[in-house]
């Protein structure tokens, strides 16, 4: 990897996550170490139940590890207060979920406006940022469209735009193409890669789809809670 220490965005070390205690306790993640730099695209793969989503939730501060450290751009984010965690999520990370979770009662515009509202972006600035984000995923023509009338692929592209609209440092995507057909998977990954390239954002994709994983520069494999392997996907290196 040709990355410098300065643009190290995510640095987790010796991360352990257990659910419950004693004999009934389950160890989901064991001594996980991961470094992600700005502009990197990382796939986290592995079988179902291996802890991929748990790792992603910890990276988004939805969950907290039992042990280990997590530094985001050099800051110990595990020490953040509840309010600071919310600020972390609205300003520094963007999320794309598997089930294309849009606010169904809202339009495409309104879906992208919510993160900006929570981030305190002024109203007159919002439209420009929303249009830019939608153009990036080629959805500008659907800006006033009700979200519940979009196709699955379109919804996921809007979800990508929503994750990007606050210009985060990292996008965390949990099976973003899990419910899409082959063509739409390609489109969504194209848009994600394009966005990452243009914005310099890091992308961590949790997936068990080889088609998605092979498009990433790095693939990390989780097996029984252990991040066993991490290697660069040379085919996609610039």
């Amino acid at each position: 990897m040709k990355t410098s220490h300065q643009d190290l965005v995510i640095n987790i070390s010796d991360l352990v996550k257990n659910y419950g205690n004693g004999a009934t306790g389950i160890s989901v993640l064991q001594d996980v170490n991961l470094e992600v730099h700005g502009g990197e695209i990382v796939a986290v793969t592995g079988p179902s139940g291996c802890g991929k989503s748990t790792l992603l939730f910890i990276l988004g501060l939805f969950l907290f590890p039992s042990q280990g450290s997590y530094y985001f751009s050099g800051e110990n984010v595990l020490a953040l207060s509840r309010s600071e965690q919310a600020e972390f999520r609205r300003k520094r990370v963007g999320f794309v979920f598997q089930t294309s979770d849009l606010f169904e009662n809202s339009t495409v515009y309104e879906n992208l406006e919510f993160p900006l509202i929570y981030a305190g972006v002024k109203r007159r600035e919002r439209k420009g940022r929303i249009v830019d984000a939608l153009d990036l995923v080629n959805m500008g023509h659907r800006i006033r469209h009700p979200a519940n009338l979009l196709s699955g692929g379109e919804k996921q592209r809007v979800a990508v735009a929503r994750a990007l609209v606050n210009r985060p440092q990292v996008i965390l995507a949990d099976e973003p193409t899990g419910q899409l057909d082959r063509d739409n998977t390609q489109f969504v990954m194209d848009y994600l890669e394009k966005s990452v390239k243009e914005a310099g954002t890091a992308l961590i994709v949790v997936t068990h789809d080889p088609q998605v994983a092979t498009r990433c520069k790095r693939i990390c494999v989780l097996e029984d809670g252990v991040l066993k392997e991490s290697y660069g996907n040379l085919a996609n290196n610039d």
């Binding site: 939730f57 939805f62 979770d101 929570y118 981030a119």
Partner: protein, 398 residues
């Protein structure tokens, strides 16, 4: 989250989920309309009932007179009320009317055919007697200021007296003779609850003083109190006011306590019924909002999780749910106010009454205040529940 964004987003959400909110909004609107109708018209109905009860019982009337027949009084000179005393009594807080009267019994009347009739009581009164006693004419009209000041020979007869003197003939417009003077009958007094007055005749006391033989001194006053709550204080203040303005020896104050007690008991039941209705309306409206907001938190769990995932703080979620509850309750309340106004207008037309505009405006304020209390009160718990939801469980909620 800025206030304008909060209100915009919440209003939009309520509007888009109008089908879900329709039932509860309708309930609150009907409740608010009911509240307005119950209070506005309830007061009006109560006042009408009071008036009817007044006609029957004279509960808020106080009689003040000089009783010189008692042995304890050393002097036997006649006593009567001075104009200055009457003026001071009119200024007493809680007094709405005062009338000065003088009585004479055993007076002979005759019609133009010289048919003689002995009258039970001839009353010399000023123009306020009708208002103070809540009298209304069954025929013709009552004498007023001009007739009293001009010492006119006019007469108002009790309906029974008129029947006895004139038979089936119309008494109004006819003449009768009192002490060799002819008086024109200008009106008849009658109706429900009139009692002994139906056998009395009324002439201006100035005319009586000038034209009816004997001494005509106004030794009796009737006062009308604004409400029955004023009766006690007015009655206790009267002797002091009288003695401050004239010789008060022999003064007697008569209050109709039994009637007052009965009237108050009936009114208490009416008020009790009104307030029970209001309480029931509020409780039902509150449960409606609480129910819809609780159901909303459950069905919108993923939405809450998503909003937290994109950066909403606990207070943003809480504020949004609270604002939505307020939008429902306030919006419904506004519809209720409009519906209430229409209902009040219709009912007022049916009952032939005119409720106070101030009372309606008070109800509007009360309705809005209650809707805010309802919205906040019923929406608070679901909002707190929504705000405390953990992101992972909310996002993974199916």
């Amino acid at each position: 989250m800025r206030l304008d964004d909060l209100l915009r987003v919440s209003f939009r959400q309520v509007l888009r989920q109008r089908r879900r909110n329709l039932g509860v909004a309708l309930a609150i609107a009907i409740g608010t309309a009911g509240l307005i109708v119950v209070i506005t018209m309830g007061q009006d109905v109560k006042e009408n009932i009071n008036k009817d009860l007044e006609l029957l019982g004279k509960a808020t009337r106080v009689k003040v007179y000089f009783d010189m027949s008692q042995e304890k009084y050393s002097i036997s000179r006649p006593q009567w009320f001075r104009e200055s005393t009457v003026g001071e009594l009119r200024r007493l807080p809680g007094v709405t009317g005062v009338t000065l009267v003088a009585f004479r019994n055993g007076i002979e009347l005759s019609n133009r055919h010289d048919h003689q009739f002995r009258l039970k009581l001839l009353v010399g009164a000023d123009e306020y007697i009708w208002e103070v006693n809540s009298f209304t004419p069954v025929s013709g009209r009552f004498f007023g200021y001009k007739e009293v000041k001009g010492r006119k020979k006019v007469c108002v007869l009790g309906a029974d007296v008129a029947k006895k003197i004139f038979g089936d003939e119309d008494a109004v417009g006819n003449s009768l003779k009192i002490d060799n003077n002819y008086y024109r009958v200008i009106g008849l007094l009658g109706g429900l609850g009139i009692g002994d007055y139906a056998e009395w005749a009324f002439i201006p006391y100035t005319t009586a003083r000038d034209r009816v033989l004997g001494q005509w001194l106004p030794n009796c006053i009737y006062l009308r109190c604004h409400t029955w709550n004023d009766v006690k204080s007015v009655a206790s203040a009267i002797p002091e006011v009288v003695t401050a303005n004239q010789d008060g020896e022999g003064i007697e104050v008569k209050v109709y306590w039994d009637q007052l007690k009965k009237v108050r008991r009936i009114a208490w039941w009416i008020e009790f019924f009104i307030y029970i209705s209001i309480a029931a309306t509020l409780i039902l409206g509150g449960f409606g909002i609480w129910n819809i907001m609780t159901a909303g938190v459950q069905s919108r769990t993923r939405e809450i999780g998503l909003k937290k995932a994109i950066g909403a703080e606990d207070r943003d979620i809480m504020a949004q749910f609270l604002a939505e509850a307020l939008c429902i309750s306030l919006g419904a309340s506004v519809f209720g106010i409009v519906a209430g106004r229409v209902a009040v207008e219709i009912l007022a037309n049916i009952l032939g009454s005119r409720p106070l505009e101030e009372l309606f405006l008070f109800c509007v304020g009360l309705g809005l205040l209650f809707s805010v209390i309802l919205g906040v009160g019923a929406g608070l718990f679901p909002s707190i529940r929504a705000s405390r939801m953990e992101v992972v469980s909310a996002v993974n909620f199916e």
